[in-house]
Symmetry: C2
Subunit: 346 residues, 2 copies
């Protein structure tokens, strides 16, 4: 089943519009003081390189769709984008990644110790804007947002720990359920669930959102992660901004590798196990090419696309349960359109 | 001038007593759930290895000396000890340190990616107990404590950035003023100034402490750092729990190296510059021994001891300005005695 729903133009339009507002808020927030050279300039480095600001845009659109003015969502939008950038810096160090947003990763440019200091500082600093929620949202809602924020930072670390554990023990027989549990924690929680939920909290004025809103965001988030895993192999290098095939070098477990392990037998299976058991620097180009061939032979990419499409379908069903009841608005259509926009990324 | 004031026994007694209470609070707080193996067990690892809990003890004693019950200080005490342990994990990675609390450092036991995840998660998690201040202290004081907490985490990262910058550019002609600025940010802010100030805030019920309390804590903090720099060279390995001489291998700038650069000339100076310009792994045992000899030749350790003593004297003067006005109590004597206790550590 492929969902051929064309994403309405409002998604890209609001993504751009809210991205600009979020970016302004982020640069207003970031400290303009010494030490610049080895700290504050570098905290601004990944945000300055670009990025779509998808997470802030979801947060703002959800807040507006639930009735709040954009200004009430900017502090929370700033948090989520800064946390995202902090996690990119930290992940890049952990994975030994080479490129981010079409330039060398921070640790390659400035060394691991400096990049580590930048990433950790950024993740703590990300929470500071949330203090500004007390004014517009009141102390109870502000506290609820703060608790959710720390929770998703923690969930993301749990997802990262699960993934690192699989790599260290070279676990390859992961079920789709294990994979979804990891993706929920590592990606969905802060990338889609928190922004959508926080927006609903800000707009609704209660301390939590309708569970259906959170489920919708989860389903969209899974489709987003699967699409990202596919793009890591098939994407356009300039648009994607990272090494194509980097996930294979880093030994990342994805739906594609799960499918491959379900299908490969005998020497092929042993090759895959040996490949994933090696550190990045010992993997040869020929081995990467062979793994890439095996992924094609067993139709792992079409398999992943199918699953992503199923999540989009489930998301659209979930949308009809709670979000459909929101009054008509461009922001509501943005939230709906997100489900297909996310798998149209190239 | 050496201050031969004997530290009263109440310092050690309350340090032990409050350390036990803080430790209980920390282990009550730490998440008891999956993923244990690569995350939560390891977050508990450095706290489980021991440590004196000096920072929580200062916080609790200051709160009590200012009139609050111990229970009101436990959340803030938990924060400061967890932040401290997070910074130890992170510093150990950045410095390539080998031992911490008499065992291999976390990254040596579990690899850099896992240790990095643990350190960063711990630093964010450390802020969570501060939410519990709302109940006993009210929202305004709780917010003030939270702002100070994030501030010291940020100052510590600034101090770290200054130090990393000196190493990367092999800057050796640092003034004592530069050194004190770095130590204020990296060590004093969270180790002595925050705990003492936070205790005064909790006890006083206002949103800030008397500036003299903060100055006292700064002066004590400097003496603490100088003593630590001396112990890194002269300490007893089992008690100190880290590699003796590790600072020299890591290229750390201390009062001792500042003194050495003031005194060494010609080939000696060039040797010191070359030594500090080398990465850790290229420094031979013979070179470390030669540097150690030069430190002795120019009396760098007695020089540092003299400066530490001067800070103790200044601290005792500062104590007489505001803290002396507190009603008599064992906690007040603990705070006073801290100034000499800190340079009696071996």
């Amino acid at each position: 089943v492929e969902y051929r729903v064309r994403t309405p133009p409002v998604v890209r339009r609001l993504m751009d519009e809210y991205g600009v507002r979020a970016r302004e808020a982020i640069f207003r927030f970031l400290p303009d003081r010494e030490p610049r050279r080895y700290l504050y300039d570098l905290i601004a480095e990944y945000p300055r390189r670009g990025g779509r600001c998808m997470r802030p845009a979801i947060c703002i659109a959800s807040a507006r769709a639930h009735g709040a003015p954009i200004e009430h969502a900017l502090a929370t939008a700033t948090f989520v984008e800064l946390l995202h950038n902090a996690l990119l810096v930290i992940d890049d160090i952990q994975d030994g990644s080479e490129e981010r947003r079409s330039k060398p990763t921070l640790h390659r440019e400035h060394g691991m110790p400096v990049a580590l200091n930048v990433g950790c500082t950024m993740s703590i600093l990300s929470l500071v804007p949330l203090l500004d929620n007390v004014g517009p949202c009141g102390p109870h809602v502000a506290l609820a947002l703060f608790e959710r924020a720390v929770e998703v930072a923690q969930l993301s670390a749990e997802g990262q720990a699960l993934e690192l554990g699989w790599r260290l023990e070279n676990v390859l027989d992961i079920s789709v359920g294990d994979y979804l549990d990891m993706v929920l924690r590592k990606t969905c929680a802060y990338s889609t669930m928190f922004p959508m939920r926080a927006g609903a909290i800000i707009g609704g004025g209660h301390t939590d959102a309708d569970p259906s809103v959170i489920r919708y965001a989860f389903l969209v988030g899974v489709a987003f992660q699967i699409q990202d895993d596919i793009l890591n192999l098939t994407g356009d290098h300039a648009r994607y901004g990272k090494e194509i095939g980097g996930d294979l070098l880093e030994g990342k477990r994805t739906l594609l590798t799960i499918r491959l392990m379900e299908r490969a037998r005998g020497p092929e299976r042993r090759f895959v196990e040996a490949f994933f058991g090696k550190p990045r620097e010992l993997k040869t180009d020929a081995e990467v090419a062979r793994l890439r061939e095996l992924l094609d032979r067993y139709d792992c990419i079409p398999y992943a696309r199918t699953i992503a499409n199923q999540f989009v379908g489930a998301a659209q069903h979930e949308f009809s349960r709670a979000l459909e009841r929101l009054p008509p608005s461009p922001d509501k259509e943005f939230l709906r359109g997100l489900s297909t926009w996310i798998i149209e990324q190239t």
